[in-house]
Amino acid sequence: MTRLPITEPEWLSHVDHTADECIEVVAPSPDVLFERLAAGWMLVVASPHGIEPREAWAVEVEGSDPEELLVNWLGELNFRHQCFHLVFAEFSVLEYDGSVLRAEIRGEAIDPTRHEILAEVKAVTYHHLRLAQEADGWRGRVLFDM
């Protein structure tokens, strides 16, 4: 399980991009990589302060390959955030096989008195998308259309 970090973690970096927002994450396994990319997305969208894991939701997404799976995973979270006005504090990937991902996410409804929403991600894109196993573990990069 990956908990939303309060301070910028060492596994997350921001790749400078003129119009949009690009993050890069390293992790010891693909499961954790997907969790950390979700946390990275949440940090783009909202300040981590005050977000509590009060409710849990199951998420299941599919993709024809790991890249599509990643886009669909983050797209699903972004949809739930924007449509149901939720913010998330914890991300647990329960099952991952490269084409199906089952997870549990924990968070709460947005409360403007406690939560600061920073930005609106229009969509998760394939541009600059990268998923690879490297010497230091798994590396993932994703660009959000802002």
Binding site: T18, G75, C83, I117, A119, K122, A123, T125
Partner: protein, 479 residues
Amino acid sequence: MERNLAQPIAAGVWEIPACGAMRVPARLYATEELIDRAFADNAPEQAVNVATLPGIVGASLAMPDMHWGYGFPIGGVAAFDPDQGIVSPGGVGYDINCGVRLMTAPMQLADASSRLRKLINGLYDNVPSGVGTGGGVYLDERELREVLTDGARWAVRKGYGTKEDLECIEERGRLPDANPDFVGPRAMARGRDQIGTLGSGNHFLEVAYVDEVFDPVAAAAFGLAQGQITIMIHCGSRGFGHQVCDDSLPLMSKAAAKYGIELPDRQLGCAPISSPEGQRYLGAMQAAVNYAFANRQVIAHAVRKTFLDVFGGGKGSALRTVYEVAHNIAKFENHLVDGEEKRLCVHRKGATRAFPAGHPDVPKAYREVGQPVLVPGDMGTSSYVLVGTDKAMRETFGSTCHGAGRAMSRHAALRKAEGRDIVAELAAQDILLRARSPRSVGEEMPEAYKDVSTVVDACVQSGIARPVVRLRPVACMKG
């Protein structure tokens, strides 16, 4: 991509000749300065990729404000044959029918200046804005489907504005072939409570005045006089349009494979216009176009209400729509190709339609001078009203630039803004700013954008638009 691949072919026009898989050349509209910037980004490469798509007609074009976009470059214009060609969500963008409306108020800056603070506070209260904003007009499914079918006409029917407004909106505020049946449940869910909301990012409401008149005849036709107060609304189809685009991308990737279309970039997913997949996207995309037309019409109504509150009966109620343009759209238009009139599917992504004098789609009141083209700059400098030209009609499918474009990433802008009071800096230039988020003030500060004048100069140099007036902001509201 190498800068020397583009050769100048006319003043302000560069061409990358067709080679390899390119079916047509790529033509880039830019000054020397802007072409160097464009190659530092990968917009020219994206224009080249677009040139490989089936059924493309003439050339793959990029306007002077070109920069990297999803699939197509921002500033990209491409027209496709309806029988042989494709339609691509990458050629429209996520914020379907993001666009700009310009209105005028019957008052001079001097009449308004003492009440600008009250005005911007009123706009801030009356127009929901900010990230993830709901709070607009809540629609049940039946009414949402009416919005998707009727666009701005729905809004006028509901009392948000007048029939005169419709005459001064591109396509009169409605594309007729929208099909709500092709819109997915997620987009419908996101569309329920966002009509009448501004959103965030680079979307804004801006009160300005006419700072300089370049073309008195066109300015008079548009009802713009030196010193006159104007209001600009910049926003689009909100989460509804983002979701329509998002939903279409996997389908279009599969369609490209199904129809044997080789894509140089996965983000150029597309389908033949005549295919079921192409028709499905066109129907849903046009529904999002209509959503955006309705959104801006409802916001315009809230702006009128605010002016009424602040300035009272006569002046407040007399806001007139000069024009409204779409920036992100694909639609069918007639254009001359090799001397023959053809119906084409024109994609404009971060580009503005710029039809010339005499064109039947230009409102009657403007037909002798041409279509108004609205080009917002940043909140600290200026915006422009241009007019369409015959040259644009011949060369760019009647298209020109749409804005300044970012010069700095959001992080770079925030770093640059650190320790500064941008609101106070703007106030020192007599520009009031209200914003929901302190972060958006930093991200959207004037230095984060290119100088819109250089983009306008490039359009003028290449003849694809003529300047009419320059607007200087006095009060701005950001999400």
